[in-house]
Assembly symmetry: C2
Homo-oligomer: 579 residues x 2
């Protein structure tokens, strides 16, 4: 099967750029530079797929090539299942992946359906065609670690002199060593699959590899003492590595993990096996595999807890390893260390801030450099953002379609009444910045640059499913919400419906993702900036509604930052506004 990544350039196969954007983003998800196993349609995160089968993939492309500007394609768990007449302001593609009725919303039933070819695991951005390779996650990891450093080492220069220990150098986890060194720190990462380490080294995400834990610790300590950034991948099981470190009385400053622990069968590797041996065991005796996998996780979590007891800053990095050992091994103390969202991300969500990303459909890196300039010009006061853009230009290689990610929020400022909720006009960013959210200001500026020909082809703007108002995930994004509403899934559904109403070009709703089936519900959207007035109108609306649902969701839960944001930016909070 051919998978060569997205078509590039300014000639299009489809009737318009909105359809072409969907086609290119889907193919970009399967670019061998971007996807983990494109031959199996797997993009990242264990089994997160872009399409259900190659036949389904072919049919999606064929449909997109024919889809007109008033039609909408329906994709059900990676398979195109319908096409209906809608209108220009409606989405061109609607996607629902991996959703199950609650009582059946578990891996057993999912796998049964998967075996019958009736469902696909969409993960987060895999099934919504918005994955942009490790660069997508690197900025989130960078931002999380920067926030960690600010909270725990406020007087230091980021993570300089600190050692971060972690596991997993896969699609997302592979960003960790680079994100640590970008924050000036030292990273030791366990990875059982040597090829994965090699790949991170080739692409500049990790500096060295070793089989020898003593060597890793020694070099790490030397670098930390010298205040030098350094990263090393250790070819070992993460649980074994943590125990090895504790035996050697080595306690890092920070400990976390990004092995695919959310999936005990296809994601996580049990101790005592090489990758090849484990893969064989999985085939031959999946039940034993699962038991051994969970046994290893138990030791893994114990290692993290022990390090925390010894003074390390510990946090779970969204792979549900705590939930796994709590559910399957009754290990409730797993939740004695926090998830990364309540610890470091939620204050940003309250402001509607989340990982906003965009890709140049031209394939031309210059287009992204132009957007880099634009974002710096638009937000001259945001130092962190400038540092990120500079570092990304230097150190982050493009994979597939050139793209960029940064965190932008609502923060519309005190909007005049007629511009409340983003106003109703299609003005560009320059015309009247009042009442425009950060995201809308940026998107409208890019749309202008496309219109003026400064950017050679349309740019598609999308985001992670992990965003302010788009996800219910009690073990990750909505862990320990102030009002206890962690599991309420009305919010991502409203987010998807509202963005659909506001005119996003693709809207998707997924069950599962990084924390596994039945553990989260989340939504995503794409807006295609083709320089037209219609695109400006859509961008203005969607980049108000999308971060806006983050503000109202957190305001409803009673977070002061969200209530302050609602007040400052004039976001309607009906019950409160009428008190």
């Amino acid at each position: 099967k051919e998978y060569r990544g997205a078509p590039t350039g300014t000639d299009i196969e489809c009737e318009g750029w909105r359809q072409e954007a969907a086609l290119r983003m889907l193919n970009n998800n399967l670019d061998p530079e971007v996807a983990e196993k494109p031959e199996e349609l797997v993009v990242y995160g264990g089994t997160g797929r872009a399409a259900r089968s190659w036949d389904a993939y072919d049919a999606i492309l064929a449909e997109l090539r024919e889809l007109d500007d008033e039609e909408t394609l329906l994709v059900q768990s990676g398979k195109p299942v319908g096409r209906f007449r809608t209108h220009e302001r409606a989405p061109r593609v609607l996607i629902a992946n991996s959703n199950l009725v609650g009582k059946w919303d578990n891996w057993d039933h999912f796998h049964e359906l998967e075996a019958k070819g009736l469902i696909m695991y969409g993960q987060m951005t895999a099934g919504s065609w918005a994955y942009i390779g490790t660069q997508g996650i690197i900025q989130g990891t960078y931002e999380t670690l920067a926030e960690l450093a600010e909270q725990h080492y406020p007087d230091d220069d980021g993570l300089r002199g600190k050692i971060v220990v972690t596991g997993g150098l896969g699609g997302m986890g592979g960003a960790q060593p680079l994100a640590v060194t970008m924050n000036h720190g030292v990273c030791i990462a366990a990875e059982v699959d040597e090829e994965r380490i090699d790949r991170r080294i080739e692409t500049g995400y990790c500096q060295e590899k070793t089989d020898d834990l003593d060597e890793a610790i020694e070099k790490a300590q030397a670098a930390a003492e010298a205040g030098e950034p350094y990263s090393v991948g250790v070819h070992v099981n993460a649980a074994d590595m943590l125990e090895g470190m504790l035996e050697r009385d080595f306690v890092p400053d920070v400990v976390t993990d990004q092995t695919s622990a959310h999936d005990e069968l296809e994601g996580y590797y049990p101790s005592g096996y090489t990758v090849a041996e484990a893969d064989e065991l999985r085939e031959e005796d999946p039940e034993t595999y699962v038991e051994e996998s969970l046994d290893t996780m138990e030791r893994h979590v114990q290692g993290i807890l022990d390090m925390q007891d010894e003074g390390a800053v510990a946090f779970e990095y969204g792979n549900n390893i705590r939930g796994q050992v709590e559910d399957h091994r009754g290990m409730d103390e797993a939740f004695d260390y926090p998830g990364f969202v309540p610890a470091y991300i939620r204050p940003l969500f309250c402001r509607g801030k989340g990982p906003f990303r965009w890709a140049a459909l031209s394939g031309d890196e210059e287009d992204i450099h132009r957007t880099d300039e634009a974002v710096k010009e638009l937000f001259p006061e945001k130092e962190n953002l400038h540092r990120w853009i500079d570092l990304a230009q230097e150190q982050v290689e493009f994979q597939g379609l050139p793209s960029r990610v940064c965190w932008l929020g609502y923060q519309a400022g005190d909007a005049p009444e007629e511009h409340r909720d983003g106003g109703g006009t299609t003005a560009g960013a320059g015309d009247d910045p009042d009442g425009l959210t950060e995201r809308a200001r940026f998107a409208l500026r890019i749309n202008e640059l496309v219109a003026e020909g400064d950017i050679s082809a349309p740019v598609v703007v999308t985001r992670d499913h992990l965003d302010a108002g788009s996800v219910a995930s009690p073990n990750r994004e909505t862990e320990a919400m102030r009002d206890g509403s962690d599991a309420v899934a009305d919010w991502p559904i409203l987010n998807a419906l509202l963005n659909c109403a506001a005119g996003a070009d693709i809207v998707s709703v997924h069950d599962g993702g990084g924390v596994g089936i039945g553990n989260a519900l989340h939504a995503n959207n794409h807006v295609v900036l083709d320089g037209s007035d219609l695109a400006a109108e859509k961008a203005r609306r969607v980049f108000t509604t999308d971060p806006g649902t983050g503000v109202i969701r957190h305001a409803d839960a009673g977070y002061d930052e969200a209530l302050a944001e609602a007040d400052e930016s004039n976001v309607a909070v009906p019950m409160r506004d009428r008190e």
Copy 2:
């Protein structure tokens, strides 16, 4: 607290009829004629509410009164949580009720959240402001029995000359005798609670009552022989009645049941007790009650199976009595008779047919009579439909806003290519019926009548959540799907997103409903026919996309009727179309 039903007449409180329709439908749900416990905001189905609290209710009304034609209100489990700028073709209200992340999707967690004021049970049409009282139930029962007659007695005049035996004359079950006689048949219904029988007789739903089974059988046989409709409530336990019939070698033509067997403690009555005795037993010794109740159910199901063996047509009417005896008594053979959906409703779903309903916002009964005429004029060939409309006019009292329900489907006929998927124009029904679905033809005609002033105020068209493409519910609407996809919930989510894209005026997504939290996911929508071109455009699109998702959902599962419908009506089924 005041709850006086919907405002009526042609003066409106809101900025437009779309907002006014939402306001009136919400209030109609709480009309004392319509709702079970309006003082508690409970509409029907145990605890199905229209708003989370009276404060939330007040805030919703206040928001609706201010909402402009380019804004969208967000309602999260009965509470207004946001208001954003969208556009004219977008919905005015988006609703998500009772949705929980899979692992937490159960009554225990729901009740915990409810106690904290964070969620509300939306049932189906309660939380989506589309309940219209008992007439919805009668028509569903009527349609089910009409379909049964068509399948089993194709050469007869409905159920004329046939005897239907059932149990339970409660809120929903009480519709059975009338639905049988409307189909010209004879009904014998067991009911332990004499007051319930009396109530059905008072309101004209049942003709006579007796304590004497011999008398009931005799009169029923006489009526059946004469081809006369007849109904009798027998004051007896249903299990005892079936055994008594078998002892007398009496086998009815059809046997079913609507006692509240889904709840063995508070719904179903054990044999050997009067209602008063059983109520006392329930209080004093609930465990014994449950055992005796399940023992009776076992005999009850055995009676149905024996009658089936003797040639009766048997089906379960959605009360889960089969599941109860399978789960608690290991009686697997219970499932030897089918549920009503796979047996009688699914063939309709395959054609996109479902319970379509509309209400006259004027409050004027004449407006509904005008729609009655219109539907008969539009579908002169549909005898069943004509009979239903005539009978409903005669026998079904209006409750709250005058309204009507009937089953309409896709069935667009062989549309010319340019009208595939409903075409793109805003033509009225008369202009070019080709390519219009049944539902769209009807809605466009009503819209014309409103425009011409033949109907005095706008009409809102909505439906049950139980519809062709809008629900995943493995114990009811999607029981025993041909491909095993019963629990796949991507479909109702796509239905909601697509109807939102197509321009429905209210769109809602609910977890739960009649089968309980975690057991179903379903969507609904409203379209307001105010006589405008915009309303015509929305109606044309939504009444194509909505039944259309029913056709594609069943086509995807491999149903011949759905594939035939897709062929006949030119509904795109992407994978198949490209084979």
